[in-house]
Symmetry: C2
Subunit: 206 residues, 2 copies
């Protein structure tokens, strides 16, 4: 994919193909699609991006993406301020919000500890979390909701150790068989964990 | 995917998810990726799009996307002006150029006749092709290089009929088994055609 009849077209295709998961062919398809739109929608697209860059801020409390200095979750009077859920990035906030099962606050780390990618604890918002816990005495429980990978476990353990002096309850989201999954296709580690950490329905008297 | 903490973020995600093949989740991933870039690269992205819209033109001869009124292929003295290859859109021009096997000119139709999508002959550049053949007497052969679908065949036949008064040689690109394909997995129609339109290696004397 090198022969472009137009340098301008080529420049636009190269910009698109820098995006993650977008190759040259897809980039060309997207650019040609945009060319077929009217000028208004192209300007709206371009404006939305610049607007995003110029006006979006990170919440001073939880580091979620926000339009105001304090995000809509942190500033809501209806959220339970005694629980803080630690997540990797804003996509996880959206995913958990969509479940409708969580009503506490969040803390967005901005990544997880991953030496292979050169990400250490200092690159994350762990210091900010500690400062937050020092100034705000409402927190009672920290829920760790990171990826169930080795990097996620490392980060969980690091944060758990860091938070020990604060005397908070620290929990980790349940790992087990996905709802709708068939047992025979589950991997051994997940299946093993789901047995060890089984949920008790009812306590019998025997 | 409805709970966004930022309206600006939501607007950008919606713009991205209007692109073909990009869903809400991918759009969010792309937007978050862009947010992590420095301002310069975001502006470059946005500029490339606006530049594209404001400065790109369609070649007055072949309707290929171009930076000049006459595209680099049509204006090249090294191209064989006696052959015009009819293609659906500019992606096909790029694909054929990349083969390095074709040295003639192109004519970009801008689509193919498809009643189901509401595209008739008048929506394509067929009139412009006729005008081109009337004013330019160099053309000797027209190669039809459209998709091998029913719509492609309909368009081929329509153009073939339209061009009959001009007394040109009209050909269609070869259809057959893809190079590297195994025969047993080829569909019957392709395999049948590849036998009927077999290529003769050597003419024997018998």
């Amino acid at each position: 994919m090198e022969t472009f009849s137009s340098k301008i077209l080529q420049a636009a295709v190269e910009e698109f193909s820098r995006l993650p998961g977008i190759g040259k062919k897809t980039a060309l398809r997207l650019v040609l699609h945009m060319l077929k739109q009217d000028k208004g929608s192209l300007e709206r697209f371009s404006d939305a991006l610049l607007h995003l860059y110029n006006n979006v801020v990170y919440c001073s409390e939880c580091h979620n993406i926000s339009d105001q200095p304090l995000c809509s979750i942190c500033s809501s009077p209806r959220r339970d301020k005694s629980t803080i859920c630690i997540v990797e990035d804003i996509r996880d906030v959206i995913a958990i919000e969509n479940t409708g099962q969580y009503h506490g606050l969040y803390h967005v780390l901005g990544g997880i500890i991953s030496p292979i990618d050169g990400i250490g604890p200092d690159d994350l918002t762990i210091d900010a979390l500690e400062k937050r816990l020092k100034t705000n005495q409402d927190a009672r429980e920290i829920i760790l909701a990171l990826s169930t990978t080795m990097e996620g476990d490392t980060t969980n353990f690091y944060i758990y150790k860091k938070l020990q002096p604060y005397g908070l309850k620290v929990s980790v989201i349940a790992r087990g068989i996905s709802v709708g999954d068939e047992l025979e296709y589950a991997d051994e580690i997940t299946l093993g964990r789901s047995i060890v950490y089984r949920t008790v329905y009812e306590t019998s008297n025997r």
